[in-house]
């Protein structure tokens, strides 16, 4: 052994190894299959990560486990390699995420069952969107196509909105924590009417972040109503279940948050036309009513005149009958003067006037 060669104590050697490992593999990501998964004392998670040729032990704290794991699942871990005090090499896992559609689906179902049992997705917890949305807090990647679609539809449909965008990753292992921080940011300020979590379509792996337990809980706990527009129509995430309102796509989220100004304009124009028509028809109606009243008055006057004419006619007939000349025409005579013997009385007949002296009077 050379004199110059450095001699380490075991502890120093282990510390130097860890330093080298930390420098060489700061936050290394390793993919493999889970084996011998177990949780000790409810806090400490142990499992092996293996492939066909090798296996490495993994350790993590249970609170950092945000996707349910089972033996046989393929996962991707972000970890720090470490040589333990007992000389055993292991990975201290910072985050773990299932990969592959089957594993993601299994993890999704396990977590969905757990959170449903807790009542996290209960329909009675859902809040409606405010009737008028003016301020929107958007959580998305500003480089994502889904974000561009969301803004495009928003601008096409409505104006005057205040949109604050929290730029975060929307896929990968770091995304969940970034989205959680953005949710916290908006909730602490309390200025937004609604928070929209936006992400366009992608593979099951790309969208897996939206099934992160901590993120799902943060969405459910948001004081501000949350709408999700994640993936395509067919995609569903646990964040969707936890959100107050679910849109099928980013574009659909923009549609649900805004009225269509073209529709509003059309309705405003229709309203004016309807009012104009109504106004005209009310005037016509009143004119018709006035004409009807005038016609009725005319009719009443005619009836009144006819009735009066008829009455006058009757009176004339009576008067005619009462006319003494008419009596004379029937052969009667009118005698004027005092009927006393020797007096001269005037006798009027139909065609003669006679002066006659009374000669005799006899009681009947």
């Amino acid at each position: 052994m050379s004199e110059e060669q450095q001699v380490y104590s075991v502890s120093d050697f282990q510390a130097v190894c860890n330093q080298i490992l930390e420098t060489a593999f700061a936050g290394v990501v390793v993919e493999g299959e889970v084996a011998s998964f177990k949780v000790n004392q409810g806090k400490f998670v142990f499992f092996d990560l293996k492939d066909e040729q090798a296996s490495v032990g993994c350790f993590m704290m249970k609170y950092a486990l945000r996707f349910p794991l089972e033996d046989g699942m393929r996962v991707r871990v972000r970890a720090l390699p470490k040589l333990t005090n007992w000389g055993k090499f292991s990975l201290t896992v910072q985050s773990v995420m299932p990969v592959g559609e089957g594993n993601l689906k299994k993890s999704f179902e396990l977590l969905k069952k757990k959170l449903t049992a807790e009542g996290l997705f209960a329909p009675e917890k859902k809040r409606s969107l405010p009737p008028v949305v003016r301020r929107i807090g958007v959580i998305s990647s500003t480089q994502a196509a889904g974000y561009a679609d969301f803004c495009k539809i928003l601008n096409e449909r409505w104006g005057g909105l205040e949109v604050s965008v929290a730029h975060t990753q929307v896929q990968g292992m770091a995304a969940a924590d970034q989205i959680i921080r953005a949710l916290k940011y908006f909730n602490e300020r309390g200025e937004m009417d609604v928070i929209a979590i936006i992400r366009g379509g992608g593979s099951a792996d790309d969208l897996a972040v939206f099934n992160d337990e901590k993120l799902v809980r943060a969405v459910a706990a948001s004081k501000i109503p949350v709408i999700t527009g994640i993936g395509h129509e067919v995609d569903e995430s646990l964040c969707d279940f936890a959100a107050d309102v679910v849109a099928s796509t980013p574009s659909n989220a923009a549609q649900m948050l805004t009225r269509d100004k073209r529709e509003v304009l059309r309705q405003a124009k229709d309203s004016i036309v309807r009012v104009q028509n109504l106004f005209n028809s009310k005037i016509d109606e009143m004119l018709r009513e006035n004409l009807r009243v005038i016609e009725q008055v005319k009719l009443d006057v005619v009836v009144k005149i006819t009735t009066l004419e008829s009455e006058i006619d009757g009176i004339c007939k009576v008067l005619t009958q009462l006319n003494p000349e008419e009596v004379l025409k029937r052969g009667y005579a009118l005698i004027l003067g005092e009927p006393k013997v020797g007096n001269v009385v005037k006798i009027t007949t139909r065609d003669k006037e006679i002066d006659a002296r009374v000669e005799k009077i006899k009681e009947r």
Partner: protein, 64 residues
């Protein structure tokens, strides 16, 4: 402070409803109709001119 577009839309709706209500009076209708057409034009102008204000927050969410 100028009225919000949503307030104007609500006002237009209320104005239209008046024409269908028992409060309708022919003497007031012409004036009301003029008001509503002015309001509808204002709404059209507002909707055409209104732009959304989209700001990306400077905060770095990748850090704790």
């Amino acid at each position: 402070m100028s009225k919000q577009i949503s307030d104007k839309i609500e006002e237009l709706k209320t104005g239209v409803d008046w024409f269908y209500s028992d409060d309708f009076k022919l003497e007031q209708a012409s004036e009301k109709y003029k008001e509503l057409t002015t309001l509808a034009k204002e709404i059209q102008k507002d909707l055409t001119e209104m732009k959304n204000e989209i700001n990306v927050i400077a905060e770095d969410f990748s850090k704790d």
